[in-house]
Symmetry: C2
Subunit: 220 residues, 2 copies
DNA sequence: ATTATAAACGAACATCCGTTCGGTGTCAAA
DNA sequence: TTTGACACCGAACGGATGTTCGTTTATAAT
């Protein structure tokens, strides 16, 4: 999954770590002279020399003529344990007998008091995502536990077989199920293969609130 | 959860977003002149003027005499959707009939071909964490699905009630269960409350491989 | 009408910074 | 022995950059 640039030697390695640590500590990249000072190198040209090699080896990228214009490449950042973060607003709880919260049209991160922070690499496209906390054990048949966090993408309809948060109008009930449209009726299939599906004869009773993208369980 | 600095007005807001976007795009902060250019301000002193206010309002921090020495504060970064990343090595699969992979003494991120990237805010202390991919449906009674990722912390023993990856020597079987030491015997309790526990009379048959810290399920 | 404050302008200065250039020493291959 | 690479040094140039200063305009309060 994470292809890494070629292995490199002593000094280059030190410079790379120096860049990473500097960014980690100060929030912006070092200058050539910062690196020289840190590593006890007395000439800036030496650092420039090594930076050019690190750039050739695809560990870093540089913006020419821009001060501190050093960037770790995606691969380099992964190799050093860095990445990109996505904040998903936690909009509330999902429980069997209560309506499912959905994002208002103009929701933004500012204003939400709690957020779930995930990396883009596991969440994919973060557009419009929101999170709900599961309350109660009524969704055990979806293999979802009390306290689990579900990451949702808003949707009013879903393709066959997709896992969705569903509000059943007549039963006044919320569930997480895979949805299958079968002619006139709807089959709601639990994620747990040992459990039986529910059939809803009137599709209008099935209100799709969003697709389930991910389930996160913090144990204990 | 995420306390935010005071609300601010038009131009300050624009400057803040400009800084965030610049960092997001280029990997390092803008100069005073970069900001001025971006916002169509003709004098650098204007930007300096606003930056000082943003600093007073605790949205940003500045390193004096350092070029591009602008940093979003922790609160400011959260308010704009940024954070800190942790890479967890994915060491292999966990399946019912196979031994559980455990980290070797000197494992490091470089060398692992696949990693799971999480944020510190959901994972807590990232020290020694590793990840396993669940294969098969044999752990349904732990509410864990085929394909789920479990995040583990190495441990050779666990406290009562903790969820652990367990290797049962005599059965040659791997499971995820809550472990209870009850006098001479061991109770292995499924996370699914509708299911019955297993009792092991000889505690030496129970080999703890690690504590389960988190379960992640990517749906579909 | 006066004062205070916020927001902006343009110019200027000293320092910071990337980059280049000419050299030096070491070591292994030819 | 010569050659070429690698790693390093010190100096210097020109442009980038943070910061300060004096001035101006608009708005609201006194």
């Amino acid at each position: 999954m994470n292809a890494q640039p070629a292995v490199l030697e002593d000094q280059q390695q030190r410079i790379l770590e120096c860049i990473r640590d500097f960014i980690q500590e100060r929030g912006y990249p070092p200058t050539v002279r910062d690196i020289a000072r840190e590593l006890g190198i007395s000439s800036t040209s030496v650092v420039d020399y090594h930076l050019k090699r690190l750039e050739q080896a695809r560990w870093i990228e540089r913006d020419p003529r821009s001060s501190r214009g050093i960037r770790l490449t995606a691969a380099g950042a992964r190799g050093l344990g860095l990445g990109e973060i996505v904040s998903v607003p936690l909009l509330g709880d999902i429980a069997a007998g209560e309506p499912i919260p959905v994002p208002s049209s103009d929701f933004s991160l500012l204003g939400v008091e709690e957020t779930i922070e995930l990396t883009r690499s596991i969440v994919g496209d973060p557009q419009d995502l929101y999170a709900l906390r599961v309350r109660g054990n009524s969704m055990i048949d979806a293999m979802v536990h009390d306290g689990d966090i579900v990451i949702m993408r808003p949707a009013e309809e879903v393709a066959n077989g997709e896992m969705a948060a569903v509000w059943l109008r007549d039963r006044e009930e919320a569930t997480l199920k895979r949805v299958y449209w079968e002619g006139g009726r709807v089959r709601l299939q639990p994620a747990n293969p040992t459990m039986e599906p529910i059939y809803i004869d009137d599709p209008r009773q099935v209100q799709i609130q969003g697709k389930v993208v991910m389930v996160i369980r913090r144990v204990r």
